[in-house]
């Protein structure tokens, strides 16, 4: 697997978009179901429109922020240890 810090900006952007979409579909699952059952949801044009609208929000994250979020996984995995586990556990 490619090291997180070596990933190009495009790779990071693609991974972030996929994470964003996954997150957004999770948070708004109920609403998305309603949209899909609405009258004006015609499958051929509507689905790409919907996906495009959802993923637009990635533009609100700067490339650095995207990298930070995408690479958090790798950082946490390497540090999944003593200090990491008790992180903030007692506040």
């Amino acid at each position: 697997m490619k090291m997180a810090e070596n990933k190009s900006n495009q790779e990071i952007a693609a991974e972030f978009t996929s994470y964003y979409l996954q997150r957004v579909t999770k948070e708004f699952a109920e609403d998305l179901d309603k949209v899909r059952s609405a009258d004006d949801f015609k499958s051929d044009a509507a689905l790409p429109l919907l996906i495009n609208a959802l993923q637009q929000g990635t533009a609100l994250f700067s490339p650095e922020e995207q990298r930070r979020i995408v690479t958090a996984e790798a950082a946490a995995a390497t540090e999944e240890s003593q200090s990491g586990k008790k992180y903030l556990s007692t506040i």
Binding site: R23, D31, D40, A59, S62, R68, T71, L88, T90
Partner: protein, 1155 residues
């Protein structure tokens, strides 16, 4: 469209085309060229003629289908063509190829035997098609083409083309024939065909309207219609005609209109060919004049092409063809956004068509009325005159909310012609954003998101610099929050029961506030000439924005209503709130928003995270936390050091824990910045720039965390108490420090200023007895480890070592076995450096943007170093004292005294630091004056007067007490040089000055007002006078007393201020500006010079403005200003300047150095 033939119509009734039934002609196989000749020989009998032509057609069909597999048949054709080729002796113009066929054609048209005519043109079209593939037969083909261009044939063609609409069987092959002819041999005869356009293009527009009608059988429907053939002919013409002919062809409105009229019904291959040909041979052909392109691509054509977005393509029957909607999209993107395609016109960004952004308005009017003085300022609220009216019309026919591609097209057009944004939303009345959870609403939202995300045009006007007047506020706001996004609708969106609606609205608002920020900054740019006018426009803009956007309360309520688990939504909403605090604080602070509970929630959530949780989610939550921290930093009501029942520690300590205990790899730079800021604000640490702030504490805690994580957990309650106490009563600890200073060896004499130390140390010292009393061994053990490291780091941070040693020994008393000594200096430095490195490494992104918000990314300015700066700006002191001047002059003639500088050298001695030299010089000056007066020197009177006045002034100024002020001496030196030449520009002014009185004021700089404020004595001599003045002033600035004269308050303002204002004259040339810079450089070399320049004359901002002004024009000059700014910073009293500018100067200069 061609005029309809009304013959045989039933008046008023629906017209039906008569169906024509063709009898199939007979035919026979062709075996010899002789047989072919016989078959095609002229025969007046229609049936026999058709028989021959049909046999020929089948013969050609076979040849065309079989390629080279019929060499014998090709031979037959070749022989036949040879036999019919006219002899070369004939005149070129009258040579008729295939004379038999031509005769048959002509004969058939007399009684109008349509079947024969059709058979002839079909055969000819096929023959040309075949010949175009056989290189050796091309000359024959060209001969046939030329034959077609003879008058008789042209008339036949014209008659065929204008045959009744129902006779597609004649029209179609004729068009095919023309198509083959115009493209034959690379368009060799295209030009003459076009020249004969009265015949060849006859009824073209009408013919492009003849399509298959429904009731035809399937076989017929598959055949290309007359329209298809006509379009193909026209496209071939566009391919092979020269640009001027294309222009003329495209200027025929009916043809252009007919070309795209039924586009949506055309077969896919035709549509593709049409789009490709128009693109390659019209749009992208640079030789085709712009007006030709414009006449092709009117709004109607664009609308018809855009109807292809809905083209129904049967991909199962023709899978290899590209998608038509995609093709049309690419075509439109190209056509509408490339200026050379003839549609897009250059606009002026946010300035509408009827405005003149560079108009000069009377200053008095502008001062009195402000923005009201600009008549057009409020004119564009309901209508915007645009240059791109074609695109404006076209845009109204698109439905960007219904398809991603159309949204992309509209956005691209907006980007290419920003004037259209406001116009589009004003005209699109049906476009409402009333929230409803539907695909259309989401499409609206996505489109609006794109529109708001568009960048603001460069300098608003797309020029190379800002205009004189600001753009109309209504247009700017329409670009930031387009009309459908009004307050009422947005409030409803934020409070909508479906959270996705609120999420979409929040995202758009985030973009809008960011865009507002950019727009306001552009209004505040330093290079604006009329700053107050732009500032007023910026205020209006913010007001308008606040009227359109939901109130901060609505935003806060929306944030409150989001579930804790919806981190993406929470992040967006907190981002929005944070931006409001940053960009429109005056509005944001109106709401009483206590961020602490949200901060607690966020911290608690981070604390509760489960093992299974996605690390990306945590990183996202951290981003939300950052937003909240920023809001907390901005809101004055934030209680950083108060505890409540719901939380164990104060928010500050809780945040400190987040920082210290965060797993490695999670970037927490912003958290560190907030902690550092709060610590400094609450005087936990000394607040001067060189001090590393909270780093020693963070370093000590991290070091403890590394060695024993348990100890850190033990230490928090104690530390929280110390931090809270220190923050609530810092004075108490400062007093405590003073007491301890008395005890420290050697310190009292140095005073408190030398004994800087973090107040938190004393808070810890004060609290230790209580910890000792509580006898919690865990805490004491942890403190035993922690305190020496912490104190060691404070020493490494540059705090007073003796004082800290006293503190440590006092602390030691509370531990049974005492504390360890301080760690070695190297170890402490290393640790401090490590923390610094970690804290600042993740900070690269933050540093790219300095706090003024201007991105420095991509700038590769090579700095001018100090040495280079010195080389350019430092010139030696010309009043340098040469004592030999006292004796040298005596032996010289008067001419030599004046012209060769002996007089000047003598005068310069008046600034000597030795009283005897000055006195000697004075006597010698008087002697010299006498000598000059008695001489025959032309200007003896004036020079004598000057020297005498100087001597009088020196006497009165007490030449024995100290050097004469440099300005007086420098003036005398520079005046002598002017007096020797009556034609010099300053001759009258200097004489005027000399006759005014016998003694000069030592408090003033002679002749400054006369040059700066009065008219130049000779026309066009202003800059010459200025140059003289600047060089004399440069020599006048040598000591701190001189500098005082420069910044002394005067009736017209301090001299330095007036000199700095000179640079505002954009006509002033570089050499004069450099002279000014030399003067400033000289001032920076004088004690206190840089500090005075910074605090009293705002030199840092002045230099910044100069950088901004010349950055685009002269990079080197800009670098010179920057280098000078660095020099000012390096030579000033940083502490005082830092205090004076509340660290603004530090940020500007150091931010610059980092790039």
């Amino acid at each position: 469209m061609g005029k309809r033939n009304s013959h045989g119509d039933f008046a008023g009734g629906p017209r039906k085309r008569q169906r024509i039934v063709h009898e199939a002609p007979t035919s026979e196989d062709v075996h010899t060229s002789r047989q072919l000749r016989q078959l095609l020989a002229f025969d007046s009998d229609g049936v026999r003629a058709r028989h021959g032509l049909q046999s020929f057609k089948l013969f050609l069909d076979e040849l065309l289908a079989g390629g080279d597999s019929h060499p014998d048949r090709l031979q037959i054709l070749r022989e036949y063509l040879d036999s019919t080729t006219p002899s070369e002796s004939e005149d070129e113009g009258s040579r008729v190829y295939l004379s038999d066929i031509m005769q048959t054609w002509s004969h058939a048209s007399q009684p109008s035997n349509d079947n024969v005519i059709s058979a002839v043109v079909v055969a000819l079209a096929l023959l040309l098609k075949l010949l175009s593939q056989k290189l050796e037969l091309v000359p024959v083909g060209l001969g046939i083409c030329r034959t077609l261009l003879q008058k008789r044939q042209l008339e036949l063609i014209s008659r065929a083309l204008s045959a009744d609409k129902g006779k597609a069987f004649i029209i179609s092959p004729t068009l095919r024939l023309l198509k083959e002819a115009i493209s034959f041999d690379g368009g060799a005869v295209a030009k003459p065909i076009f020249r004969a356009r009265a015949f060849t293009l006859k009824s073209l527009a009408r013919n492009m309207g003849i399509v298959h009608i429904g009731e035809q059988d399937e076989e017929a429907a598959k055949r290309p219609s007359a329209r298809t053939n006509a379009v193909l002919f026209l496209l071939n013409a566009l391919k092979f005609l020269h640009p001027e002919a294309k222009k003329e062809l495209l200027s025929q409105r009916d043809v252009v209109s007919a070309l795209t009229r039924d586009l949506k019904q055309d077969p896919p291959y035709l549509v593709i060919q049409l789009l490709d040909t128009l693109r390659d041979y019209v749009l992208l052909d640079d030789k085709v004049p712009r007006e030709a392109k414009s006449s092709l691509l009117g709004a109607a054509t664009l609308i018809r092409i855009s109807s292809l977005y809905y083209y129904r393509q049967n991909t199962s029957t023709e899978p290899s063809l590209p998608s038509i909607p995609d093709k049309a999209h690419d075509f439109l993107m190209n056509a509408c956004t490339t200026p050379s395609c003839g549609v897009l016109r250059q606009d002026m960004g946010l300035y509408p068509r009827e405005t003149d952004p560079d108009a000069t308005l009377p200053t008095a009017e502008l001062e009195e009325l402000g923005l009201e003085a600009i008549v057009w300022m409020k004119r564009f609220k309901t209508e915007v005159p645009v240059r791109n009216y074609v695109l404006s019309n076209f845009l109204q026919n698109l439905r960007p909310w219904s398809s991603t591609k159309q949204s992309e097209l509209v956005t691209a057009i907006f980007k290419a012609a920003p004037e259209l944004v406001a116009d589009f939303f004003i005209n699109n009345k049906s476009f409402t954003f009333e929230p409803k959870l539907s695909t259309t609403w989401i499409g609206y939202a996505a489109f609006l998101f794109n529109a708001v995300m568009l960048p603001i045009p460069d300098y608003f006007c797309r020029g190379s610099g800002f205009s004189e007047l600001p753009p109309p506020t209504s247009i700017v706001i329409d670009n930031i929050l387009p009309l459908p996004l009004n307050q009422k609708v947005l409030v409803r969106c934020l409070a909508h029961k479906s959270k996705m609606v609120s999420f979409f609205a929040t995202r758009i608002l985030v973009l809008a506030v960011q865009k507002l920020d950019t727009a306001v900054r552009m209004h505040q740019d330093l290079s604006h000439f009329n700053k107050s006018l732009w500032a007023e426009a910026a205020r209006r803009l913010v007001d308008e924005f606040c009227q359109r956007s939901p109130s901060i309360i609505d935003m806060i309520n929306s944030y409150r209503s989001i579930s804790e688990d919806d981190i993406l939504h929470r992040e967006a909403a907190s981002h929005l709130l944070r931006l409001c605090y940053e960009v429109i604080p005056q509005v944001a602070l109106m709401a009483k928003f206590d961020v602490s509970p949200f901060l607690e929630t966020a911290l608690r959530r981070l604390a509760k995270r489960e093992q299974s949780e996605d690390p990306k989610d945590i990183a996202l939550s951290l981003k939300q936390l950052e937003n909240l921290l920023a809001i907390a930093g901005y809101s004055p009501g934030m209680r950083w050091f108060s505890t409540s029942d719901s939380i164990t520690f104060s928010p500050f300590t809780a945040l400190l824990r987040v920082y210290v205990e965060a797993p490695h790899g999670v970037a927490l730079t912003k958290v560190w910045r907030v902690l550092d800021f709060v610590a400094m604000e609450h005087q936990l640490v000394p607040a001067y720039t060189a001090h590393p702030g909270l780093l020693p504490l963070l370093g000590a805690l991290q070091s403890l965390n590394k060695s024993s994580a348990k100890s850190v957990l033990e230490i928090w309650p104690f530390l929280d108490k110390c931090l809270t106490r220190c923050a609530t009563a810092p004075i108490k600890y400062l007093e405590m420090m003073q007491t301890i200073i008395q005890e420290a060896p050697g310190l009292p004499s140095q005073g408190i200023s030398a004994a800087v130390i973090s107040p938190i140390t004393f808070a810890i010292l004060e609290q230790l007895p209580f910890a000792e009393k509580a006898a919690n061994q865990g805490v004491l053990r942890a403190l035993k480890k922690f305190l020496p490291t912490f104190i060691g780091l404070l020493v490494a941070a540059g705090e007073s070592r003796p004082l800290l040693e006293v503190a440590l020994s006092k602390m030691s008393a509370h531990f049974t076995k005492g504390l360890d000594g301080l760690p070695s200096t190297e170890a402490a430095y290393e640790l401090l450096a490590e923390v610094k490195h970690v804290d600042q490494s993740g900070d690269s992104a933050a540093k790219k943007t300095n706090p003024l918000g201007r991105s420095r990314e991509g700038q590769t300015i090579t700095h001018i170093d100090d040495e280079e700066l010195q080389e350019v700006l430092d010139i030696t002191d010309s009043l340098s004292v040469d004592n030999s001047a006292l004796t040298k002059w005596a032996s010289k003639t008067v001419d030599e005294l004046v012209d060769e500088g002996y007089a000047v050298s003598l005068i310069s001695l008046l600034v000597s630091e030795h009283a005897s030299i000055r006195k000697e010089a004075l006597i010698n000056i008087l002697k010299m004056a006498a000598k000059i007066k008695q001489s025959e020197y032309d200007e003896k009177e004036q020079v004598w007067l000057l020297l005498s006045e100087l001597a009088e002034t020196a006497k009165g100024g007490g030449v024995g007490d100290g050097p004469l002020p440099s300005p007086v001496v420098a003036f005398a030196c520079h005046a002598v040089r002017m007096l020797k030449d009556p034609l010099s520009v300053l001759y009258p002014k200097i004489n005027g000055f000399l006759t005014r009185g016998p003694v000069w004021s030592l408090d003033r700089l002679p002749l400054v007002d006369e040059v700066l404020a009065e008219d130049p004595s000779a026309v066009d001599s202003y800059y010459a006078q200025l140059s003289w003045l600047l060089s004399y002033l440069l020599d006048s600035l040598r000591t701190d007393q001189d500098l005082e004269l420069f910044h002394k308050k005067r009736a017209n303002g301090p001299l330095l201020e007036r000199l700095l204002a000179l640079a505002g004259n954009s006509y002033m040339r570089l050499p004069l500006r450099i002279q000014l810079l030399k003067l400033l450089y000289r001032a920076t070399g004088i004690k206190g010079g840089s500090t005075t320049l910074t605090t009293r004359f705002g030199i840092v901002s002045w230099l910044e403005a100069q950088v901004a002004w010349c950055q685009d024009r002269d990079g080197r000059e800009a670098r010179l200003y920057e280098a000078l700014r660095r020099r000012v910073w390096e030579t000033c009293d940083r502490e005082r300047v830092g205090e004076w500018s509340r660290k603004g100067a530090v940020v500007v200069v150091e931010g610059e150095n980092e790039t």
